[in-house]
Symmetry: C3
Subunit: 268 residues, 3 copies
Amino acid sequence: MEKEIAELFTKLRYKKPLVHQITNFVTMNDCANVTLAIGASPVMASSPCEAGEMVMLSEALVINIGTLQPESFDGMMAAGKTANSKGIPVVFDPVGAGATAYRTDCAMKIMKEITPAIVRGNASEMNWLIGGRSITKGVDAVHVALSNADIARTVAATYNCIAVVSGNEDAVSNGKHTYLIQNGHPMLTRVTGTGCMSSALIGCFAALSMNHLHSAVAGISLMGIAGELAAASLSDEEGTGTFRVRLVDFISHMSAEMWLEGVRIIEA
Amino acid sequence: MEKEIAELFTKLRYKKPLVHQITNFVTMNDCANVTLAIGASPVMASSPCEAGEMVMLSEALVINIGTLQPESFDGMMAAGKTANSKGIPVVFDPVGAGATAYRTDCAMKIMKEITPAIVRGNASEMNWLIGGRSITKGVDAVHVALSNADIARTVAATYNCIAVVSGNEDAVSNGKHTYLIQNGHPMLTRVTGTGCMSSALIGCFAALSMNHLHSAVAGISLMGIAGELAAASLSDEEGTGTFRVRLVDFISHMSAEMWLEGVRIIEA
Amino acid sequence: MEKEIAELFTKLRYKKPLVHQITNFVTMNDCANVTLAIGASPVMASSPCEAGEMVMLSEALVINIGTLQPESFDGMMAAGKTANSKGIPVVFDPVGAGATAYRTDCAMKIMKEITPAIVRGNASEMNWLIGGRSITKGVDAVHVALSNADIARTVAATYNCIAVVSGNEDAVSNGKHTYLIQNGHPMLTRVTGTGCMSSALIGCFAALSMNHLHSAVAGISLMGIAGELAAASLSDEEGTGTFRVRLVDFISHMSAEMWLEGVRIIEA
């Protein structure tokens, strides 16, 4: 699997796919910058006046409900349905699902009325999608009884999609096979938007490949590896500000070779 | 006072409070990143569809009108009233009050219909809240006849809150005692959002402590000290871009000891 | 011409004009930071509730349709018409014109109902304004048959404005004289918002000068020179994250002398 995934890194820089992202206001600049850093091109048109038309120019769609509003939700539904009808893969990030009724309802509507190819969230968000009633503390993960692998497997089997559960070990599942990605660094939790950026990166790879398990593994492991390299590069005085800058630096330099050297995957 | 405030820095990293922030689109990413850097957790749900519910999960609420819109204003009012009824402290940043009628009206409505525990602004913004008709030039401070200490004292006494007036010397008052914080650096005015980030940091401390004078001093002095350290760390070639990154670096490293070493407070 | 433009850099740091910007959610923080870095002051009030009033306090208005919405469009129209009536120069950035019908329609309405002093876009966006039907791929430029100089000349002549077409060589025209700015670096295309930031910088100079050709050349060449300096400063490990930080650093240090030393202009 690793060799095929590594090839996606080369292909991405060559193809420069356009990735439409209807995402939150907090981290959208970071999402655009990592999209460019890995070699794709972002467009972030969220208004229902144009979202459905914009997605037709795109090779993938990323939906993220971090700062959900009725207007952007309408844009997400319009773009998502168009993407489904045109065979454009949809990546969904259910940020904060479970925290409020509005957010949970919208997340469930997206899961039911759109067919996401890949869903990525933390354990508590993803657990909500399968009826688990873990408490979501704002938009950050809290302790959940099930393992990441179990949640990923159940989400994937329930919705017939690829499920990615982020955490200490990231789990990626297609319902039958589940992989654990053992990359990452605790500093990734001290910068806003590393989850959102992972979803954006997964969208970049989904724009390239019909194998969405590969796309998901590529995107989530890329963030983990970049986090490790960024943390290792810090001097004693440098902190989370510099870490965030280096994260983008290493993503912008990532090659098939760097990825193969850094990635650690096992089957669960 | 200093010793008790210093303990808040340790407590914050241990407790990791959730701080709900309904803030402006320009600086919200920076506000989220300094919130994480000091050890708290941000959530930024502004829609009236969920703001009132989200604030109930939070230990403090920060309201900032930098890019005010009718929809986010409704979210602010819903969240603010819920916070008041649940005893969750509200920090208010009246960005640009006085610049337009809409902004001034909304700021006054928030002061009257919500009871903020702490209000932070520059001299011209804060002066408007007490009927002073200084000219607000966009969102930046202009010269005001009263001293920062006088404005802080009057706002605090008028609204029975803690008032923080940012400037060359920051003034913090509870209406009876007024303190001047002599930290800071001119470069803080050359980066967008340092005021907003100060308010966000004050919200992080307000989430911990019943003593809102302490919370206000902790947050505002933290930004000043981080600004001094960031400016001192710059090489000749480095400018405001690197300064902004280092600001977050030093906030992410700030400890009770670093703060005690750096802070300069006198009673006015 | 160079000597007169160089003086604008000194004048800007002395006058600190207020520049109202109704821009997109993705890059607005960057636009605010480069505005401050070059010595002006940004305000970003987009709501129609106050945009028309805010622009009256400002010395220039920048309109950017990167994440267009009906509400912010109303704010743009209100602010733009007020600016026109008060003689406040308007800079327009037609981001993604041609990509969707909504975006193209709004861009054309702005061109017809507001009189921009300066319009800046990439070749495909600018080509749409003159009836060219190039394909706009999201918000990034694609190959267009006409040269940048030809497009700039035609836009300028058609709309009686200054036109700036960004690209490998930037073209600036008043319809009679057309200049090519030979500054820049390929890394500028790997960071989001460098076009938006160019428009913001042009707005800062437009706030100072009645000679909008000079303002346009100053702003667009500044971004190119800063890009060259930022790229030259990178170590092997540093990538697009550090590049973005250095871009702001060099803008914050830019002086009349540095600009004169770096700029390369020829008449087309």
